[in-house]
């Protein structure tokens, strides 16, 4: 007899782990996977956000407040003279901001600055002349002087003193690199020239894109905002660093939160795996516990034992998970870049940064998941009356009891009800609560479901002994079945839900792509090279073989400085090829208002529907009416379509970036491509990308698959964890039932029949688990499709079921659990029958 109970606990834990290492390893892995995924997503996103924020603030030069153009059309420069005189404004720096391309095709942000104002407001944007101190400095204001950040210099393969042709806003100009920008953060590509030069050289006379403001020392930004508010024209907005931060956060928030939630669901699955492992191990050790109880160990001791066991598994899992997560994040950043393949953050690869607070958080979650999963078995183990438990290790539910479905039903109702609640801060938090409730409802309902599903089979007895035995066993011990199944049900449900959602999404995108890619050929000009002017458009339309050609332009517009920019799509809107594919009805024209069409995400972001009026930063005081809503899966931040004629009239900007071409039936696509290239403006001829719809479609779908790469990975892990759960559960239950097998042998059941019985049991378990999991998964997928997706990504879709995958999952589960049950049974029945029965003293 041990000298003290804690020593006994140590032995029990160590003994259990020595005897059944596989089981505990599985629990550890489950926890580790959940922690790793959550932590990795957090790290990647944190690093990417930092990098993105840095990129934004680099170009902004850390001004206190900014007036920004809502689109790349800029706003009237006269605002500068008025703003600088506003009370509370210490200084103001006007900025022309252009996307520029160097001669070797590398792009950078070209800022036109008044160096005197910038020196006060945004000193990090000031250049250092290469010639050092002393000497003539006309070059500061010289019309062709260009100062480049180190990254821009390297990318453009230039050196100080060198001459380079810079393309921006459709103009090519020769500039001389006069020096560096020592204040620009590492890796950022920025160029600075004089504002007057930028305006003149790149066709921006009269327009500026930004005014950076420095405020008086103890002036509140709000005070100044109130004063400059009335001066701000329709084409500009006021924002500050917080808005920039909110904007970059908003860009990736939905994506990030969804992945984190998926990681938490993985952790949740881990909890069920720990639960099922621990339940089995408690069941098997009930006799040992009973013995300890009779020897004086208190109930608390048993609870402590099982919880500590789970906690240890959680501890190891969480530590492993953090390490794994860090590795995963590092790998993902290298392979998929900081946006996890979603294409949100552009091409700057962020540096990975360890996040100690997040690490502590996920560590705690991992341990909590394991402890939580152990708590119920611990309580069960402690509750068992020592005298009964000493004799029996069976199911604590009496086969004759009626099982009630009250709690699961309540959870189900709550889950469905929660799904209808609105998003919080544009995050579908209730959607996830709903998913968790549905999952919990399904798992708690398992005993009842197992018995309900089996009851028709129970009534149809009399085929053969192993099958009858198997059915009777499962029917009689639904809790044991449920324990075996909860892990697999959770992981199957999760996986099917994700698969249904992704399938539906991909299907919807595919349909949408075939709708929008109606042209025969798409022509795209590289940004920064000016696109097609009116003359070029005419030449292109006259190219032999071209039936019709539709030009369009995409202009980023900022409607709210804390929101990412939307896209204003300028294209002909009309009949035939120019028709928009609308959702719902179109509103007729209204006199005095310009018709625009919102994309589906834009309607949600702006809270506007067809028939509503909206404000756009073009055309001064023009009024705009939402004439209709169209489906768009490519611009999550929203897009607005305006007819070319209206845009031309309002802005006078006639240049276009892209074109879609319908060919004459007899035209040769290769000839047309060559002719189009020849008819394009000279600077553009080598900078045109032409693609056929098939290529574009493949490209779009590959982007889609890339952005869902991480969810595929998660699905694979869910399946592996689920199947591994089946295997260990089967072996645990088989070894717990040695005495039963011995008894069956005694009454004349053959070894083969027992193994067959176990096989049928396994198959039935797999079938039940698969069916329930798939059903639950489809239910959860509806929450993902109709609640979580619209709330976080602003788009809707119709459900498409991956029937083949669902069937395969069920078959795989049946086969895997039958096979593992038989393998486990083979070992269990190999023991001598007499000894097996004797074990029941």
């Amino acid at each position: 007899m041990p000298a003290n109970p804690s020593r006994a606990l140590q032995w029990l834990i160590a003994g259990e782990w020595r005897q059944h290492p596989g089981r505990i390893v599985l629990a550890v892995i489950a926890i580790a996977v959940g922690v790793a995924l959550g932590f990795a997503v957090h790290l990647i996103n944190g690093s990417a956000l930092t990098a993105f924020g840095q990129a934004v603030s680099t170009v902004n030069g850390a001004a206190d407040l900014q007036i920004k153009a809502s689109s790349n059309l800029g706003f009237d420069e006269e605002l500068y003279g008025r703003v600088i005189a506003v009370d509370g404004v210490a200084d103001a720096s006007p900025v022309v901001s252009l996307k520029a391309v160097s001669a070797n095709g590398e792009s950078f942000t070209l800022l036109g600055l008044d160096i005197i104002r910038a020196a006060v407001v945004t000193p990090s944007l000031i250049g250092a002349p290469a010639s050092g101190i002393g000497g003539n400095r006309d070059e500061i204001f010289a019309g062709n002087a260009l100062f480049l950040s180190k990254a821009a210099l390297i990318a453009a393969k230039l050196s100080v003193g060198g001459t380079v042709t810079i393309n921006a806003n459709g103009r090519a100009q020769t500039m001389v690199v006069r020096g560096l920008l020592p204040g620009i953060a590492e890796g950022r590509r920025v160029g600075v020239t004089d504002i007057a030069a930028a305006q003149w050289l790149f066709g921006r006379l009269g327009k500026i894109d930004r005014i950076d403001l420095k405020l008086e020392p103890d002036i509140q930004a709000r005070y100044v905002r109130e004063r400059i508010g009335p001066m701000i024209p329709a084409g500009a907005v006021v924002g500050d660093e917080n808005d920039d931060a909110r904007q970059s956060d908003a860009l990736s928030r939905a994506y990030r939160v969804n992945l984190t939630m998926l990681a938490l669901v993985a952790l949740f699955t881990g909890t069920f795996l720990v639960y099922s492992t621990q339940t089995l191990s408690v069941t098997r050790r009930l006799q040992s516990f009973a013995l300890l109880r009779t020897l004086g160990l208190q109930r608390g001791g048993i609870i402590a034992l099982v919880t500590i066991e789970g906690g240890l598994a959680g501890l190891i899992g969480a530590i492993a998970g953090l390490a794994l997560g860090f590795g995963l994040a590092a790998a993902a950043i290298n392979i998929l870049a900081g946006d996890l393949g979603s294409g949100i953050f552009g091409d700057a690869p962020p540096a990975l940064m360890f996040a100690p607070i997040a690490a502590a958080g996920f560590f705690a979650l991992g341990v909590a998941a394991a402890v939580g999963g152990s708590l119920i078995p611990a309580l069960q183990g402690a509750r068992a009356a020592p005298a009964v438990a000493l004799k029996n290790a069976g199911d604590s539910v009496d086969p004759r009891d009626r099982l009630r479905g009250g709690l699961p039903l309540a959870l189900l109702t709550a889950g469905v009800g929660t799904a209808f609640l609105p998003a919080i801060g544009r995050l579908p938090l209730f959607g996830y609560v709903s998913v968790a409730l549905l999952l919990a409802a399904g798992i708690i309902a398992m005993p009842w479901l197992a018995r309900t599903l089996l009851s028709p089979l129970v009534r149809l007895q009399g085929r053969n002994v192993p099958t009858d035995l198997a059915i009777q066993h499962l029917y009689g011990t639904p809790s044991a079945a449920a324990t075996a199944l909860c892990g697999i049900v959770a992981s199957t449900a999760l996986m099917i839900a994700m698969a249904v959602m992704v399938t539906s999404f991909r299907g919807a995108v595919d349909d949408w792509l075939s709708e929008i890619l109606s042209g025969d050929l798409y022509v795209r000009s590289e940004p920064g090279w000016g696109g097609f002017d009116a003359a070029a458009q005419k030449r292109l339309a006259a190219v032999p073989g071209v039936e019709t050609i539709l030009f369009n332009r995409q202009v980023p517009i900022v409607l709210d400085p804390s929101e990412p920019a939307m896209t204003l799509i300028v294209r002909p809107v009309g009949k035939g090829d120019a028709a928009l594919k609308l959702i719902g009805k179109e509103v007729g024209p209204m006199s005095g208002a310009v018709a625009v069409w919102l994309s589906e995400p834009a309607t949600r972001i702006l809270g506007r529907q067809a028939g509503d009026m909206i404000r756009l930063p073009i055309g001064g005081n023009a009024r705009f009416i939402v004439a209709g809503v169209w489906r768009d899966y490519s611009r999550q931040q929203g897009a607005v379509v305006i007819d070319s004629k209206d845009y031309d009239r309002l802005t006078g900007d006639r240049s276009r970036d892209d074109a879609s071409v319908m060919l004459r039936p007899d035209a040769d696509i290769g000839d047309v491509q060559r002719a189009i290239r020849g008819a394009a403006p000279e600077a553009l001829q080598t900078r045109l990308t032409m693609a056929e719809p098939v290529t574009l479609r493949t490209f779009a779908l590959s982007i889609f698959d890339r952005s869902f790469a991480i969810t595929y990975l998660l699905e694979a892990i869910a399946i592996i964890v689920g199947l591994a759960g089946v295997a260990t559960t089967a072996s645990a239950q088989a070894s717990a039932r040695k005495r039963e097998f011995g008894m069956l042998r005694h009454i004349g059941v053959g070894r083969g029949q027992i193994i067959a019985m176990l096989g049928v049991e396994g198959a039935l378990l797999g079938a039940i688990g698969g069916l329930v999991g798939v059903t639950l998964g489809v239910g959860i997928s509806q929450v993902l499709i109709h609640v979580i997706n619209p709330q976080s990504f602003n788009w809707t879709m119709t459900t498409q079921l991956p029937l083949m995958l669902m069937l395969l999952v069920v078959i795989a589960l049946i086969a895997a659990s039958a096979l593992t049950a038989m393998l486990a049974g083979r070992r269990a029945v190999s023991m001598d029958a007499v000894r097996a029965v004797r074990a029941d003293w």
């Binding site: 006269e78 101190i133 002393g134 007057a196």
Partner: protein, 358 residues
């Protein structure tokens, strides 16, 4: 900091390009024999490369304190493409700085402004004195008085200057040579003995001040030539109504390359001082801990008049009157309130921290 230094030097050098880099007729040359017309010449001469309105004053506050102040507006015309129609084109760039000398503070209070002309932010008017950068302004009022309003960091100056004497045309009728090359020169006139009243506000305390000031007006397209690195300059208002301006252009080893000046007697007659008539002799130097520059802050100024030599001791009110205006595009120099026998004025020492490429 480094950046603002770069900028400062860059802009200053820009306002003062070397002769070698000033080919052709981009900027007009300064030539002798120009007729001065007032008030027109109080206004800007935008074709010339550099121009300044330079007010220094020695005043007494109503609390009995002796104070000095300096208000300077510089105009410079960068070499830019005149074709550029952009309103931002830096056809003219204006700088200003202001400083208050208070022996009780022991160093200069100073602030600066800079801007390219346009958008109503900065302008130097043609036709009469009216220069403005944001909320700083120096203007000639309708009644012939001048006024300055300077709202600076740490102090506010609100001053009115009443001319009591006609302008002194420096050098040969306003043509002031700065070196052996006759093209190295400026148009230069001064308004000494300006009766000065107004207020100076520091923090929440406003003091009324009265005293005498000196306005220097100079414009040029090339100032320093050859090996010149800087200058010593002084403008002194004497209690008897007489006034003295004297300068010397220094070479590398503090040797005098050129010198000149004008003494106007109390009776109104003026004496033009030739290079040999002016001698600056350092008496005491002070070393700036900020910049490391060594300034001869106390000097003996000897001028030769028809009645013989006149020795004046220039004693600074306090040593640290160094002005570091690099962040606004001007160099580091010493501009200090000095006392002399029977008068007060300002001493200016440039090119001691680094050579001026003027």
């Amino acid at each position: 900091m480094i950046r603002s230094i770069y900028l400062g030097l860059a802009l200053f050098a820009l306002s003062t390009a070397t002769i070698a880099q000033t080919p052709g007729a981009y900027y007009p040359d300064v030539k002798p024999g120009r007729a001065f017309v007032f008030p027109k010449d109080h206004g800007a001469h935008p074709d010339f490369r550099t121009e300044w309105w330079y007010v220094t004053g020695a005043v007494k506050s109503n609390k009995g304190k002796e104070l000095g102040f300096q208000i300077t507006f510089f105009r410079t015309r960068p070499r830019v493409d005149a074709q550029n129609p952009s309103k931002f084109a830096p056809q003219q760039v204006l700088f200003a700085h202001a400083a208050v000398s208070d022996p009780a503070v022991g160093k200069l209070l100073h602030d600066q402004r800079a801007a390219r002309s346009g958008f109503g932010i900065a302008e130097a008017k043609i036709g009469d004195a009216d220069v403005r950068i944001k909320d700083w302004r120096f203007v000639r009022l309708a009644d012939g008085r001048f006024a300055a309003k300077i709202k600076a960091q740490g102090f506010t100056l609100d001053l009115v200057f009443t001319p009591k004497q006609p302008p002194i045309l420096q050098g040969e009728g306003g043509y002031s040579r700065k070196g052996s090359d006759p093209r190295s020169a400026s148009y230069y006139y001064s308004l000494p003995q300006l009766a000065t009243t107004g207020t100076i506000t520091r923090g929440t305390s406003t003091e009324r001040i009265t005293g005498r000031s000196w306005l220097d007006r100079e414009w040029s397209s090339r100032y320093l030539g050859g090996t010149a690195v800087g200058w010593d300059w002084t403008g002194l208002n004497f209690d008897d109504g007489s006034a003295l301006m004297a300068f010397r252009i220094r070479g590398k080893d503090s040797n005098t390359l050129w010198a000149g000046g004008t003494f106007r007697r109390a009776n109104g007659t003026t004496v033009t001082l030739k290079p040999n008539d002016v001698r600056f002799t350092p008496m005491r130097t002070w070393r700036s801990k900020r910049t490391g520059a060594k300034y001869p802050v106390a000097q003996t100024l000897t001028i030769t008049l028809s009645e013989g030599q006149k020795r004046l001791t220039l004693t600074p009110m306090f040593a640290d009157q160094e002005l570091d205006a690099r962040s606004s595009g001007l160099p580091v120099y010493w501009e200090g309130l000095v006392r002399t026998q029977g008068g007060r004025g300002y001493l200016e020492l440039t090119g001691y921290a680094a050579p001026l490429a003027m």
